[in-house]
């Protein structure tokens, strides 16, 4: 764990965040606040563990929910409690906890919190200035509010995946649920803005968060193209309408690729210098940006002849030295071994009770209040004693009884 020096301010120290969330989105919202000092509490139950904790990889290779490395990344800086929300006593305790909390994050199927008596109206009765966010696939209202989604399903639904693919070919799905971390960051912004409002006015806020709408709002421009020109965006591979060249090029070794993006004439001249001014540059087909765009496949082939003879990192360095935007398409190995990410502490080597492991660091670099990773992802229910006993004052005898009767389980 990184040490926090005493004169470093943790901006959200003293803020308590209850996270009832499943899977990915809510965990991102909670840990962005927790990295900055908030006390995040992950609320779960052995009665129905989240699917995330059944996903590989597992630390030490042993398939146990407490070894899930997804959770180890996402739930750092969280405390962990277990409670059966279907039990009356469990819900009472949760209301006691909400009374002492600032933010609630949940992504149950819309309507579930209301059935449990834990919807915003109920919660603000015990905590009037509560900020609560409910991410769901399609929002809390509207004809499709009930749909079951994962992030991987939302990419297609929100229009993202339909534009993903090789130029002129069929759409291809993403290999992982990109809309989840995207929604997590949008959601964190919504909560931060609502907290700002609360601090200024004393008013709480409820945030109806449709992952679909958040994702689609990043596609505002192709939607305008449809509005004006009835054009339907289709996969365009690595091509851009205003950059040329703009592609990935094969390099030495297996499956190594270099991305190169050139916008200005100045950058084009830099590219020519980096490539050693080969004779084909005098080809009239490449004389100006307009012609280069028209002959892009031929230009790409010429550049590929140069990259094939170089490593992806060397070629990037040569191009960057001439002011050209170029960087390898990173593999997991590249991400872990690249000295750049090491120097920026992108990855943290942490000591978990089950062994050493690598998780991500603080993804935003604040000069004055950097935040910190202070604790590991908790074991499931690890902090029942701390939260229900020490914080809420449940006597030890009752605590044991509640765990035995699976209320706190």
């Amino acid at each position: 764990m990184t040490e926090t020096s005493q004169d470093t301010v943790l901006p959200f120290k003293g803020l308590r965040v209850l996270n009832f969330g499943w899977y990915w989105v809510c965990a991102v919202i909670a840990h962005i606040l927790a990295d900055m000092g908030a006390e995040a509490i992950k609320v779960e139950s052995w009665q129905r563990l989240e699917v995330l904790k059944s996903l590989a990889p597992f630390l030490g290779g042993i398939e146990e929910p407490d070894r899930c490395m997804w959770a180890h990344n996402l739930s750092r800086n969280n405390l962990g409690i277990t409670v059966d929300l279907r039990s009356k006593r469990g819900r009472e305790l949760i209301l006691d906890l909400v009374r002492q909390s600032d933010v609630v994050v949940e992504n149950w199927t819309p309507g579930t919190m209301k059935k449990l008596g834990l919807d915003y109206e109920s919660l603000r009765r015990v905590r009037p200035d509560l900020v609560m966010i409910s991410p769901s696939g399609a929002g809390q209202t509207g004809p499709l509010h009930h749909i079951s989604t994962y992030g991987s399903v939302l990419g297609p639904l929100a229009g993202l995946d339909g534009m993903n693919g090789y130029e002129g070919e069929r759409p291809i799905p993403f290999g992982m649920a990109l809309p989840d971390p995207i929604a997590g960051v949008f959601g964190a912004y919504a909560v931060l803005a609502a907290l700002r409002h609360r601090n200024e006015t004393g008013e709480g806020r409820y945030i109806d968060f449709s992952q679909w709408e958040a994702m689609t709002s990043t596609l505002g421009v192709p939607l305008l193209d449809y509005h004006w020109n009835r054009r339907v965006a289709t996969p365009m591979g690595n091509r851009s309408p205003i950059f040329v060249p703009h592609n990935v090029y094969p390099c030495q070794g297996e499956d190594n690729w270099l991305s190169i993006a050139v916008y200005s004439e100045e950058e084009w001249r830099g590219l020519c210098r980096a490539l050693g001014e080969p004779p084909w540059l005098d080809d009239p087909r490449f004389a100006d940006k307009f012609r280069r765009k028209r002959h892009e496949p031929e230009l790409d082939e010429c550049i590929a002849q140069w990259t094939r003879e170089r490593s992806h990192y060397d070629a990037a360095a040569l191009l960057q030295a001439e002011g050209v935007a170029a960087f390898p398409a990173s593999s997991a190995r590249d991400l872990y071994t690249d000295p750049h990410w090491k120097a920026r502490d992108a990855w943290l080597e942490v000591e978990h009770p089950y062994g050493r492991e690598v998780i991500y660091g603080l993804h935003l670099k604040f000069s004055d209040t950097p935040g910190s990773v202070r604790t590991n992802c908790p074991f499931i229910g690890e902090h029942n004693g701390l939260v229900f006993g020490d914080l809420l004052g449940v006597p030890a005898g009752e605590l044991a009884h509640l765990e035995e009767t699976k209320v706190l389980y």
């Binding site: 200024e200 997991a332 998780i359 991500y360």
Partner: protein, 405 residues
């Protein structure tokens, strides 16, 4: 009118194309006062990229500009001259937040890096968005959306066919991502300022933020086991079945069943075909993964006898996560989005009536709205430079002549 979440926050936004612009939009749309400064030549790529109404290029009608810069005030500024630098510093002195989307080193070479700006405004929060970040061995590297995206690992690991090149996140995904993270960073730093009384610099790397929040588990896995996952193409999320995008009678559909009950329900929705009830295919999505191709082959007949929309409805009625692969046309006409009032309409003086994507989230107590269309080039020069910063009106013509604004 109800107070909005970011009301009272003054934002100075500087940087071409999308990343700074979208970050500014996220704050402007919640009530922050955002001043966007751009080149007097009108050569911001956001004004050049398009799309344009009727496909006729016009720097006041480019889609990127109109979408990302609504709700802002627009001024022109060339900070290369001493006068330009003075105006830049005056804007930085006015602002709570400066969003900088220029390439690493660009502002520093003009004497406008954070250390300099802090001397005119110690409470300034400055957020720099860049491809690879502004420290470390590549802290001076140049980058655009394409290189950020590929640097993050998103493409090599998750996007494209394994025997072909990795793909780009279309429509500048990495820039939008960097922008959203920048809005988070700015808001956190404003909170911190309440406690410390001083501003700070936040270095946002599009690639690092994406590598961290999207790719980390693959790095954890590589560190532990040496496994280096490679993109699986149309197979989608590898290691699980079904999790795939398939052709239907009309359009494409994405079907996924992770939890065991979702598979059982999918089998029912398919009409309990013999092949699907074989014990081989029971169990978890991971246990079925080795038979993915066989399963998709066997599902094809059923998939091809329905439209994507029908399959969506059939599956969702039984809680099976499935969705049509929506196009922008589908979205534009979608009844659910319309019922939620997602699209907003607005008139722009040059581009006419616009119908645009609306709020990314709904905060109670205040309606999300667009108050003003994207500014024309230099539209608010007088309002900002004279009204806000107190420059005598008589100076404006000289500044124009000198090409500063």
């Amino acid at each position: 009118m109800a107070r909005r979440e970011m009301e009272g926050v003054r934002v100075f936004e500087y940087g071409p194309f999308i990343n700074a612009a979208y970050a500014g939009k996220l704050m402007a749309d919640l009530g922050a006062q955002v001043i966007k400064a751009e080149s007097p030549d009108g050569d911001d790529p956001a004004r050049i990229h398009g799309p344009f109404p009727g496909d006729i290029p016009d720097l006041e009608k480019s889609g990127y500009h109109l979408y990302a810069n609504a709700n802002k005030f627009g001024v022109t500024l060339r900070p290369e001259s001493p006068t330009g630098r003075r105006l830049f510093k005056a804007l930085a002195a006015w602002a709570d937040v400066l969003i900088d989307g220029t390439q690493p080193g660009e502002l520093a070479s003009l004497g406008l890096d954070y250390d300099q700006l802090q001397t005119v405004n110690p409470r300034l929060v400055m957020v720099g968005i860049s491809s690879l970040g502004r420290s470390g061995p590549y802290g001076e590297y140049k980058g655009y959306d394409l290189t950020s995206w590929h640097a993050s690992g998103a493409s090599h690991v998750y996007q494209g066919e394994p025997d072909r090149e990795p793909l780009w996140g279309a429509w500048n995904n990495a820039s939008h991502w960097g922008a959203t993270n920048a809005a988070v960073a700015a808001t956190i730093a404003l909170h911190a300022r309440e406690l410390t009384g001083r501003g700070q610099y936040v270095d946002v790397s599009e690639a690092e933020a994406l590598a961290s929040l999207f790719l980390a588990v693959e790095v954890s896995d590589f560190n532990q086991s040496g496994a280096c996952k490679v993109r699986a193409g149309v197979k989608g999320m590898e290691g699980h079945a079904p999790s795939t995008m398939r052709q239907t009678k009309e359009g494409w559909v994405f079907v996924m069943a992770l939890a065991p009950h979702q598979w059982d329900n999918l089998v029912e929705v398919m009409g309990n075909p013999d092949w699907a009830t074989t014990p081989l295919f029971r169990g978890t999505s991971r246990e079925r993964a080795p038979y993915a191709e066989e399963i998709y082959g066997l599902m094809a007949e059923w998939l091809e006898s329905h439209t994507a929309r029908e399959l969506f409805e059939l599956c969702q009625a039984r809680g099976v996560p499935a969705a049509p692969v929506n196009t922008v046309k589908d979205l534009y006409e979608d009844e659910h989005l319309q019922a939620r009032g997602y699209f907003v309409e607005q008139d722009h003086p040059a581009a006419g009536r616009l119908r645009m994507a609306g709020a990314p989230f709904r905060i109670s107590g205040q309606p999300w709205r667009i108050d003003r269309p994207a500014p024309l080039l230099g539209q608010h020069n007088e309002e900002v430079y004279c009204g806000l910063l107190g420059l005598p009106k008589a100076e404006l013509p000289d500044l124009r002549r000198a090409g500063v604004i």
